[in-house]
């Protein structure tokens, strides 16, 4: 393993840097700014079975160190995605498959009811994606987070998807719950190969002069650097409770340092979201910076992963014996 390689639920990645769903289209939009062939993976915007027009505008608002969004899963549906977008993601992946590299892995994020997710899973596995991320946590659609606030439902949905999936399945969970651990346990029981932590935090903005919510959807999901500490905390808690369940971290990452912090907390890979709005070239630079940082510290992603947990275990073990 090179210093940057990481294994995510059996999926080998050149490096742990991924785009986050809903923040980088299908990757194709960003290709004009930098060579994405060195990125670890691309995660699509959520695809639903049927087209969804999304929520009425205004849909976004910048807030201190973050932003609110209430897009509402606008997408043209699976048929159009399979025809137009997936081949482009696969073309980007192929561009990186040289000199022993795997290229950006193609990960498609899916949303919908259990029956729709099963159908989508079949279609996308047949189309040759590398992994699927199941969006159990969109805060901007009716009942969007229901399935990741109820453990029984989480397990049921993931088990249904897993029963037809032929590639690794990641369950993307909501932070809008007192304790994410029971939901992660349920996803694990349902057979999730990994969990993606975290989706956005539900928030709101008010225009007092107009006596109205700012967003067309009233509430929206908070993302950006403001939520990074929350994401780190949840990654850490889930890793501590479920050491064998791989974690994809997402929430406010904006630098190579952020990646290493999330890896220390227990993540196998890290997604970039809101930061790509400001800088579409960011992921490529982060990959290079990661190599420098790891070289300086003489360590690797593999070594660093869960480093905090192992040292915590050593401290709490009588006699200092390490696991």
């Amino acid at each position: 393993m090179t210093v940057l390689e990481t294994n995510l639920a059996g999926l080998e990645l050149d490096n742990p840097v991924l785009s986050a769903s809903g923040t980088f289209g299908s990757g194709w939009e960003g290709r004009q700014f930098s060579d994405l062939s060195t990125v670890g993976g691309l995660v699509s915007k959520t695809v639903t079975l049927k087209p969804r027009p999304g929520n009425p505008p205004p849909r976004i608002l910048e807030t201190p160190s973050g932003m609110l969004n209430a897009i509402g899963l606008e997408n043209k549906g699976s048929e159009v995605f399979l025809r137009d977008s997936l081949p482009r993601m696969q073309e980007l992946a192929e561009s990186g498959q040289k000199d022993g590299k795997r290229g950006p892995r193609v990960i498609v994020n899916l949303g919908g009811s259990t029956a729709e997710l099963v159908e989508l899973t079949k279609r996308f596995c047949a189309a040759g994606v590398d992994a699927l991320e199941i969006n159990l946590s969109c805060p901007n659609v009716a009942h969007g987070t229901r399935s990741s606030t109820d453990p029984a439902l989480t397990e049921e949905v993931i088990a249904a998807v897993k029963s037809v999936a032929t590639v690794p399945v990641f369950a993307k969970l909501t932070p809008n719950i007192t304790d994410v651990v029971p939901i992660a346990v349920a996803a694990h029981r349902g057979g999730a190969d990994a969990v993606t932590l975290i989706n956005t935090l539900v928030g709101m903005a008010v225009d007092w002069r107009r006596k109205k919510p700012v967003l067309g959807n009233t509430t929206g999901g908070l993302s950006g650097p403001a939520i990074k500490p929350v994401a780190l905390r949840i990654v850490y808690q889930v890793r501590a409770a479920l050491p064998d369940l791989p974690i994809v971290a997402v929430g406010g990452a904006h630098s190579a340092e952020c990646v290493l912090e999330f890896v220390c907390a227990g993540a196998s890979a890290v997604q970039f979201g809101t930061s790509l709005f400001s800088d579409p070239t960011l992921m490529v630079r982060v990959v290079n910076d990661l190599r420098d940082h790891l070289g300086e510290a003489d360590t690797s992603i593999h070594e660093l992963r869960s480093a905090m947990h192992e040292s915590a275990a050593r401290i709490s073990t009588p006699g200092g014996a390490s696991r």
């Binding site: 999304g54 009425p56 969004n69 897009i71 800088d279 579409p280």
Partner: protein
Amino acid sequence: MQSRVHVMQKLRDLGGGAYAVEVDGPIPETGPGQFYMLRTEKRWPVLLPRPFSLYDRGGDGSWGSFLVKPIGDGTRAICDLKVGEKLVVTGPLGRTFPTDVDNPICIAGGVGLAPFLLLARSEAAAGRKMRLLFGGRNRDALSGMEDFQDISTVFPSTDDGSHGFHGMVTGLLDELLVSGAVKEGETVFCCGPDPMMLAVADLCEKRGLRCFLSLESYMACGYGVCNGCTVKVKGERFKGWPYSKTCIEGPVYEACELVHDESH
């Protein structure tokens, strides 16, 4: 399209609190209405970059400038740059005003003037004088008007009557229709605050003028991935889809393509 770091080389005061922020090249060829996302390289005080039309450009692309009025933390940080400090510039983004319109009537409000200087220059190069209707609250608010004086025919309007036509730019347009300086069937390009653009679009419809608007939408990414800058639309170009991403399908729309939503 590119995302590059450029050096700020000049800050030109346009009056009324607005500036032309000039950066070094290369600045790609850019059509009127296309825009760039800007942020300072260091000490950017906000999260998202901000969209700006390209105001002016050296013919060889060796420099470009953006019309910026410091009203929030981001715009202030851009105007506070010292010569030699850097801006991250991403673009050109979006679609231009239609390029097949002869002698359009350009209507601008405030910093909505920005897309029209390059158009005025290209019209002047072709031996034509572009008509510019430029409205503001008062004389002071007509920032940048001097840049147009020699190369176009400027019709100013001020709400307080301190310069040019006394009243709104729509009143001025009506007057020019009466005088014959503007004729039915001609095409208007408009950029400015939403209420002004709505009023202009309304009047154009009533008077039989074709009208294109360049929207100043709130956006996060500028390159089509956030789905945050959408506006409600209708018309063939959108194939039945109710929303359009301003950053890639706009910011220029024909007025009849936009669905005005009263609630927001």
